[in-house]
């Protein structure tokens, strides 16, 4: 029996290894993905009729969207199926009601031994089960990869509601959406404060574009930098909290300004007669990217945080815009227009190694997931503009909105470090299970 299991195990590994050699097909990820099984959770279906979906579905989507796993979903444990898929681990659990509270037990098992690698227990209101599931997946990602997953993050975006653009916020997977701005005007270009408590956005409620902030726990929009007649597109410096944004001055093209949202003080950083827009901080806030058409058409430039040492980044293509710096700092994502269509590209920060990630319709406004593994963007490929998430190599494109017109996503930051459960087996974070797996796939990590 043990022999058979080992044989199947190796067979699965071989299949996985084969798949990993395919690199150039855009439909197949060039990223390493770890096969993992998901076995249906046990729960009393009569008592959980109100769930918007079964826990295993949420877990599977979270794991797929993390960009790090290829999932195999099973109704019940099946060694053969899991081994064939190369899944050395599987996730399952139970969901129960105890005194009106939902108790989610979520466990990561080793496939061959059915031994619990790590277990997590969450109690919440029945409405917050999704939150518990997302937390569980983040912990599984952490256990297997040694990095924090983004299943508990949120995405803000712009949705047309009654014909007006409004800011909405939802779980990163598009579920549990809620409307943030209500003013009957155009509200757009959301971005998150460093602590995720506020959304900065641009509104045309007074005529010209102006900057506002909105505490997510309050029901009131506050104008910021009221001394500036026209400003738009703010993003917060991850280190010192200052906002960088575009200003339409009294004369000439738009400029890049930086300001303190607390004191309201602001000053110019980049000011030419040309159009300068879309400033975006580096991960540590020491430099920023922006677009300028001083060469005749919009191209991406980089500057130190005081506006000095401006260098051109993009050289290929006639229209490069909306650049955002990856969390690791090694690459940028941006959109580029060719043949009248916008598509998303990435390149290194010196503009080399350009990779085109999208090919259908218009694809705009890329934003990185907090771990840099994925990119959210909006696309009109389906006929209407919707929000999508894909891996950083362009694979695994998943639509997260379906109703109305949805544009301009903004990914939240991490909320806090992953919880260190007391029951967790002490695992060396420097050598997460996924790395052991990739370094030595023949042996695997099953204990």
């Amino acid at each position: 029996m043990l022999f058979l299991a080992t044989l199947l195990f190796l067979f699965g590994t071989a299949l996985y290894a084969q798949q990993d050699t395919i690199t150039m097909d855009i439909a197949v990820s060039t990223e390493k993905t770890l096969p993992i099984g998901i076995v249906d959770f046990s729960l009393d279906k009569s008592r959980w009729g109100k769930l918007d979906e079964m826990p295993e579905k949420t877990v599977a989507r979270d794991l797929e969207l993390s960009g790090r796993f290829s999932t195999t979903a099973l109704a019940s444990y099946n060694l053969l199926s899991l081994s064939r898929a190369g899944a050395k681990h599987f996730v399952t659990g139970t969901l129960s009601l105890e005194g009106g509270q939902a108790k989610l037990e979520c466990k990561l098992y080793a496939t061959t031994t059915k031994e619990v690698v790590k277990g997590f227990v969450y109690t919440s209101t029945p409405e917050q089960v999704r939150t518990s599931i997302h937390k569980c997946v983040d912990n599984i990602v952490f256990q297997l990869w040694g990095v924090q997953g983004f299943a508990s993050t949120q995405i803000a975006w712009v949705q047309k509601i009654d014909g007006k653009k409004q800011i909405v916020v939802a779980d990163y997977d598009g579920f549990r959406k809620r409307q943030i701005t209500k003013h009957n005007s155009i509200n757009t270009m959301p971005s998150w404060s460093n602590d995720n408590s506020k959304i900065y956005f641009t509104s045309f409620r007074n005529g010209p574009p102006q900057l506002f902030e909105r505490h997510l726990s309050l029901d009131q929009d506050k104008r910021i930098f009221p001394q500036i007649a026209q400003a738009f597109g703010a993003s917060q410096n991850p280190t010192n909290g200052s906002l960088i944004f575009s200003v339409a001055p009294a004369q000439g093209g738009t400029d890049i300004w930086v300001g303190d949202p607390q004191t309201g003080k602001a000053n110019r950083l980049i000011f030419t007669k040309s159009i300068e827009v879309s400033p975006s901080w580096s991960p540590k806030g020491t430099a920023f990217l922006f677009s300028s058409d001083k060469g005749g058409a919009p191209q991406i430039y980089m500057s130190l945080k005081d506006g000095s040492d401006v260098q051109r980044v993009s050289f290929i293509g006639k229209y490069n815009e909306s650049a955002v710096w990856s969390p690791d700092g090694d690459r940028i994502a941006y959109c580029s227009m060719d043949n009248g269509k916008l598509n998303i590209y990435t390149s290194t920060i010196d503009g080399s190694d350009v990779r085109k990630l999208t090919f259908e319709g218009n694809n705009e406004h890329p934003v990185w997931s907090p771990d840099g593994m994925s990119i959210a963007f909006s696309s009109d490929r389906s006929g209407s503009s919707q929000i999508y998430i894909m891996r950083r190599d362009g694979s695994g494109v998943t639509r997260i909105t379906s109703i109305g017109e949805n544009t301009t996503p903004a990914w939240s930051h991490y909320n806090k470090p992953p919880s260190q459960s007391k029951t967790a087996p002490s695992q060396n974070i420097n050598s997460p299970l996924a790395l052991q797996y990739f370094n030595n796939p023949q042996k695997g990590v099953a204990r």
């Binding site: 653009k165 155009i186 757009t188 270009m189 045309f204 005529g207 010209p208 574009p209 026209q230 738009f232 597109g233 575009s246 339409a248 001055p249 009294a250 004369q251 000439g252 093209g253 738009t254 159009i275 300068e276 827009v277 879309s278 677009s291 058409d293 058409a297 919009p298 229209y319 815009e321 909306s322 959109c335 227009m337 009248g340 916008l342 705009e364 406004h365 544009t407 301009t408």
Partner: protein
């Protein structure tokens, strides 16, 4: 009653404007004063908060329509360009003439783009288009402080479609006219 008054007031303004270059219409301007007086007598007791009835408001609306007819409907731009065409300059000259004759009125100049490209860059382009119009009118002799440029980028299209014609309609500068009430 109100409508009639507004219509009369509006007509008077129309006549003023149609009379701009000709100077043969002064008699037509005379009827309005009684209308204005009448309006004040009628409206003041019944509706103290009735700024809509302000003949200036009607005039403003009329002027805005005129501005839009002369300029707003036709200050169009080439794709990704903010240079004024000779046609645009002719129309802005007419708009400038109106503004020079009507010092009570100030104008918001809105710069718009078509739907192609990114929202942020289009706000930059809208800024440049509004700026081009403001610069022209300033050079023509309209005081700068009466002109407020606003960029709307691709956010307020005039034509909703995505044909070349729709795009051409949307690459424009449009006008909103305000009254400076303090100067009366």
């Amino acid at each position: 009653m109100k409508k009639v008054i507004v219509a009369i007031a509006a007509m008077s303004v129309t006549l003023v404007f149609f009379g701009c270059g000709k100077k043969k219409e002064p008699p037509a301007v005379e009827p309005p004063p009684p209308a204005v007086e009448e309006k004040e007598q009628v409206s003041a007791p019944t509706e103290p908060t009735a700024p809509k009835e302000d003949p200036l408001e009607a005039e403003r609306r009329r002027l805005e329509e005129l501005m839009n007819k002369i300029a707003g409907d036709d200050v169009y731009f080439e794709f990704d360009k903010f240079t004024l065409t000779s046609q645009a300059k002719d129309l802005l000259t007419e708009a400038g003439d109106i503004l020079k004759k009507e010092p009570r009125f100030s104008v918001v100049v809105e710069g718009h783009t078509d739907a192609r490209g990114t929202a942020e860059y289009n706000l930059g382009l809208g800024t440049r288009r509004a700026d081009a119009v403001v610069q022209f009118l300033t050079n023509y002799g309209v005081e700068r402080n009466r002109l407020a440029p606003e960029t709307h980028g691709m956010e307020n299209p005039k034509a909703a479609g995505s044909t070349e014609d729709d795009y051409a309609q949307n690459r424009r500068a449009s006008f909103k006219v305000n009254i400076k009430r303090g100067n009366l």
